[in-house]
Symmetry: C2
Subunit: 454 residues, 2 copies
């Protein structure tokens, strides 16, 4: 029926579009029949696992990425060195409610320290808890916070159709909640995880301290514990004892893994496709961003398997250290600028390996119109959205430094924040065909940009 | 950002469209904040479970559906009686490889008898196995089949972007494979399950016998066992012993559960929304079709919660016996015809509770154009497809008997056939927000049809 559709549409297409349509269909056949992305993801998640910048697993992932980049058929593979922050969780994070209304309690919470947060030096921090819904309530209660632990209950707004908007709204509590509370003398913070998941997994993720205030410990709790703390705070006073062990080791050497297909016409102009190789330490980094890594490798493999000769040079990049430093993406753009490289387009996959919905772009409106004219070629494979707004953290510096046009792959977003930065971001939660279809839609877009420019 | 989008778009909308846009946004807020669909699905799947026509669980489901229809706010609730076939699995299905190349084996396969297939009367059927890829190979081997068990290895075509096309292609082996083999003297059949799932769950589903040939037992195997049988057949001769216990009991009384919201302008013209209440016996019928049941109930609840007065009468129907008889849908259309009712539109949800992609329609092109003009109102909630072709098994008779225009909800299809008719179709594999968003997109479409007709 899909094949019929293509031929049915032929009269509406120009000859070039017919050729494009047939080539994209060939990519689909190759990718859906011989695709390696799912098996590569199994290797990355099950044989290496969590791979935070600075960890031995990250080093293993670099070696793995280099080998698979060659297996996939890159003309050449290089490692681009960068120094990365080296935060280490240091041990098991713990928090226990030890009194409720003055009576002894022993209810433990399932917590994860936020990334980059500093530990309690082996001594638990014990204090009464002040619960607040948001920063407005924090400010209203600022005189009560000295010596206390603050619990932020800020919830994902369920009315947003796109949960990434809820994530953007709630993110400030993870990133800045500790210092905002420390400013008023708080000694620790607990946040409701940035998720609407119906389980109790806590979600870690990057935070930063404001150097003007004490660097207090910060942890996240999952949905059930969050609901419990919030209702407990409504009726009782309670005390929590929390222990974390986060610390920074000296910066570590890391690498962007870069594979290249040499351009046959404009070899000095680059198209970049990438995802990030690092992940948080508490999971397998399957959706975040194992999916982006294997999308990138699969597009390379597919183009090569079909003997495609790109007009422009295409770089396939596994970026180092997106999660807690962005040093890989920063380095890539710095070097591009230093070498005065021409970068036509960069495309990132860092929103999971779910079923494809489309792409968001950071480019001018003329460029966007051109991309939107390709909709009939992309729609049969799942793309329904080609909109302004989007890109990715790792390719952002290319846009800021060189003005490069950006695209961000948009898989369906409903399930992403269920697993994002949580223990549940594992291989088993990635669906083989959804993963392959993501690579396919990205490959088709890259092919069209390579053929027609922007 | 979504809210901003609406106001940004206002100048492009007529006044009526602005009102429509605001009302649909109100439905979204109500549904995503107070939606009951997920909890209702938990009740239906966990408190009742599998509910094949004729089973005590189906009777319980009718009582439950009647109660929830009232809870959701129907003006009146009726039970529409119909007689249903009453197939019973009768016990545990089993198949074991007992010899390989004449040597004893004891490898058991995980099998499920196909629905409506007849059992082996307590005596295992034991025979050598002939493996075939498809009917072409079956015909080529027809002289070898007497007294043998046939294994059909027909695989889902991974190149179809939409797996429901693969399902349509492969379905003939489940439906007719037994009689096609019995015609040449085969004594049993095993089929590869209709799925591309990466697990070993067998998938049951309806089959029918051709009365001209012996009614031989028929079972399905999951992916791993299927791969094993196929490769074994390439190099060895082997014998399988299979036991099934399927039988038909006397037809059972069943009911369509029908809730109604009375129309305020055209009360004698009906819009029907429905899903089917029955499921296979081996799972919880969560996606198939618990999702369609709770979509239907949730749309009713949401319209009622907002005090919506429909112009047309809207019927919310939980159909009896879709899986192995279609007696509920048939009865509904028969009675509509007998009473000379006017039916404007019928919408079915029977493809799972996954993230919404759009709708397929059986209507004339003028009607389809009108529906497609509503795309800007539906797209913010996930709808990207409004295409010709679609409807649903239960509402099909309305179209055939009365010419009623049909719509079928199209959730993302990639995961559906992983769980369809398998033990894995359970509550845990349904995602809360995806389920609610499906109800929302259906509710918005129904609202627009009610407001503007077709």
């Amino acid at each position: 029926m899909k094949k019929l559709l293509i031929f049915f549409c032929l009269p509406l297409f120009s000859k070039a579009q017919v050729n494009d349509s047939l080539f994209i269909r060939k990519m689909a056949d190759e990718l859906l029949t011989n695709g390696r992305a799912y098996e590569w993801l199994r290797q990355l998640t099950k044989q290496i696992g969590g791979r935070l910048a600075g960890s031995p697993q990250f080093e293993k992932a670099v070696k793995w990425g280099e080998a698979v980049m060659k297996e996939a058929g890159a003309d050449n593979v290089t490692l681009q060195e960068c120094m990365m922050p080296n935060w280490n969780r240091g041990g098991r994070d713990a928090a226990t409610i030890i009194t409720i209304d003055g009576k002894k309690s022993n209810r433990s919470l399932d917590v994860l320290a936020l990334g980059n947060s500093l530990g309690t030096n082996g001594n638990p921090v014990t204090a009464e808890v002040i619960t607040v819904a948001d920063y407005t309530e924090l400010e209203a209660k600022k005189d009560l916070l000295k010596g206390k632990i603050v619990y932020y209950n800020y919830k994902f707004n369920p009315r947003n159709i796109d949960p990434s908007i809820s994530y953007a709204e709630a993110g400030q509590y993870r990133r800045s909640g500790a210092s905002r509370a420390a400013k008023y003398g708080a000694v620790g913070v607990i946040i409701r995880s940035l998720t609407e998941a119906t389980d109790n997994n806590p979600h870690t993720g990057g935070m930063t301290y404001n150097d003007s205030f004490p660097k207090i410990p910060a942890v996240a709790v999952g949905g059930d514990d969050a609901d419990y703390l919030w209702s407990l705070g409504k009726k009782s006073s309670f005390t929590i004892s929390m222990t974390t062990s986060g610390k920074f080791l000296p910066d570590a050497k890391g690498y962007n893994v870069i594979g290249e297909l040499k351009g046959s016409v404009n070899a000095d102009t680059y198209i970049t496709i990438g995802g990030h190789l690092d992940s948080w330490d508490v999971n397998e980094g399957a959706h975040d961003d194992g999916a982006g890594v294997v999308h990138t490798l699969e597009i390379l493999r597919t183009l090569k398997a079909l003997g495609y000769q790109p007009k422009h040079s295409i770089r396939f990049v596994l970026f180092a250290n997106e999660e807690n430093g962005l040093r890989g993406g920063t380095k890539y753009a710095e070097e591009a600028k230093a070498k005065n490289e021409k970068h036509l387009f960069a495309l990132e996959s860092d929103e999971g390996g779910f079923t494809p919905r489309g792409f968001g772009f950071t480019m001018n409106t003329t460029q966007l119109k051109k991309v939107q004219s390709w909709m009939p070629l992309l729609a049969p494979y799942g793309t329904g959205i080609l909109r302004m707004g989007g890109g990715g953290a790792d390719i952002g510096p290319l846009n800021r430094n060189l003005g490069t046009a950006l695209g961000g792959f948009l898989p369906d977003a409903q399930r992403y924040f269920d697993v994002h930065h949580a223990r549940s971001d594992i291989f088993e939660n990635v669906h083989k065909r959804e993963l392959l279809l993501g690579a396919l839609n990205m490959a088709a877009l890259v092919y069209l940009v390579d053929q027609y420019g922007l």
